[in-house]
Amino acid sequence: MIRYTLRRLTLLIVTLWLLTVFLFSLNYFFPGDALTNMTGIRASDTLAYQQAFAARDFDASIFSQYLNFLGHFTQGDWGQSLTNQRNVFGELLPLLGGTLELALLAMIFAMALGAPMGVYAAGQQRGSMDRLIMGISLSAYSIPVFWLAQLLILLFAVKLGWTPISGQINPLFDVEVNSGSIILDILVSDNPYKTAALLDAINHLWLPVIVLAIMPATMLMRTTRNSMLEVLQQNYIRAARARGLSESRILLRHVLPNTMQPVVRQLGLMFSVLMSNIIVTEVIFNWPGLGSWLVKSIYERDYPVMQGGLFAFATLILLVNVCVELFHAWRYPQVRKELYAER
């Protein structure tokens, strides 16, 4: 396990390093001046530009330029925004909190909904409920997230008026932004209307969470069902029955853990899907998060911000994937053997 962990972590570090090389080269791919793209300092601001030119070793070879870039980058100096001159890294952290809040809640909701439904469908194999659940999940899987969001807004916000159309919280509450996660921010704030603010935040929150959760939930449902049907046919389950173990013990000790193995393996993929949906969802719901920030930066051709957003997204996804893989290998030991055997 230690060897496996080290290998994965090495791979992660190499990947992140390649990512910085990619980011560095992006400065040259993007239209315009490479130094401006990197630091967000325009050539019109002659003095600052000259300073940056010297500080970033732009008179030296491309290789030392990269080393210099890497140095600044690892110290959290990701340049400043071209539109509002704010520090990219400082701007990014609260947005990351907002995105993570949405993503985590959606992921939890998806698991709470998807896995039990999948198990239930597998129990009703080929029955009408199984077909119904599978049909619904395939349909829900095919709904483009931006259409789903609009439909639900039309239903819940416009027709029923249960929830606001967009935003994170009513600006009247004036919650100070710390972590970016609205619920955490309210909890740590000394706002006199804490409870009301919390309720308002939740009121804003539940619709985007549902929109985001639906696609991962359908994926989970299908994987869980198929995997459970597979497991139920395995010899060891039959043997456990033949040994006279109780049905509930077989289910809890043998069927479910083995069912969850492919499901766990898929969590990384599910998170990737969630991340691509979160970009669109944040734009629709006007949610202050990484996704809307990234899209806005692309509209505005704000290259330093774009780099920061891309790096944050890619790192987040890679980190989650590595964590999922490590957990998978730790919980299901025979995976490690397969991985060693392939070499």
Binding site: L11, T15, L138, F146, Q150, S276, I279, L310
Partner: protein
């Protein structure tokens, strides 16, 4: 029914034919197949069958509801949008952008990806394993995000979106083909024909390829639904096909501010998108089930 011929032979249908038979047994897959065929026909004939020019603006009929509502008019079957353009014509014409362009992207990506994947699958050792690691990393990043990077470099336009989507799909094809060939090449039948002294080209095209076609078909349907979704999503974000082109995602983005007044502007293009993707997914799912069954039976 017992077979009439004395020398009983059980003929195994070819992998593709097995999938076809399996699909035919599933009514949903058949319906999905017809819906897809219909939308393909609609796309190819779109210049002929649109009732109006999709860009023509009827100033006398702005925001006309669909014909089945009380204020609707039969002239505009699906109503009109906020500029008085006929929704039906726009949806039909939009199929070129939302179905035709993804198809082209998938075809190009398939040709490039399968070629590289086949080459990688047939070679072994370091280059193959390094490629695999690279692909694992690239594939863990969602295709939409990769497409966004490329759009960010090139700037939003139809051509750039096509380029981005094609480029993003290629690694998926490489990965699938590489893995499929890798799985097959150590099976006994391949070893047997290697011992027969078959050359690599023959081995690839005549021995291995027929056995991975079904996987390829599945990957193609998967790629198609990804491509449709991504092009629509980019259109929706305003980073893809630019207005006034009647792309379904762009139409949806336009309806975002109008949801209160004219919900049909949002529902109809979305429905077209949903039905197309759903039928592709149903087909893909049925192919996946057929492959699973074949593996189980063998």
């Amino acid at each position: 029914m017992q077979n009439a011929n004395i020398y009983f032979q059980q003929r195994e249908p070819s992998p593709l034919r097995q999938i076809w038979l399996h699909m035919n047994a599933n009514p949903f897959a058949v319906v999905a197949f017809y819906i897809l065929a219909l939308s393909l026909a609609m796309m190819l004939l779109s210049p002929l069958i649109t009732p109006f020019n999709p860009d023509a603006q009827f100033s006398d009929a702005i925001l006309q509801p669909p014909s089945w509502s009380d204020q609707g008019e039969i002239r505009f079957l699906f109503g009109t949008d906020d500029l008085g353009r006929d929704m039906l014509s726009r949806i039909i014409a939009g199929s070129v952008y939302s179905l035709g362009y993804p198809l082209i992207a998938v075809l190009v990506a398939a040709i490039v990806g399968v070629t590289i994947g086949a080459w990688a699958g047939m070679s072994r050792g370091v280059q193959s394993s390094a490629l695999n690691h690279m692909l694992d990393v690239i594939l863990s990043i969602p295709s939409l995000l990769l497409a966004l990077v490329i759009i960010a470099i090139l700037g939003p336009s139809l051509i750039n979106v096509m380029f981005a989507i094609t480029l993003v799909l290629i690694p998926q094809f490489i990965h699938v083909v590489h893995n499929a060939i890798y799985d097959e090449r150590y099976k006994e039948y391949v070893t047997a024909s290697r011992l027969n002294g078959v050359n690599r080209w023959y081995m690839l095209t005549r021995v291995i390829f027929p056995n991975i076609t079904s996987v390829l078909v599945m990957q193609t349907t998967f790629a198609l639904s990804t491509a449709i979704l991504d092009i629509a999503a980019l259109g929706f974000l305003g980073l893809g096909v630019q207005a006034p082109a009647p792309e379904w995602g762009t139409m949806l983005a336009r309806s975002l501010d109008q949801v209160y007044v004219s919900p049909w502007m949002m529902i109809l293009p979305g429905l077209a998108l949903f039905l197309t993707i759903l039928s592709i997914n149903v087909l893909g799912d049925s192919i996946r089930a057929a492959i699973a069954e074949r593996v189980r039976n063998s």
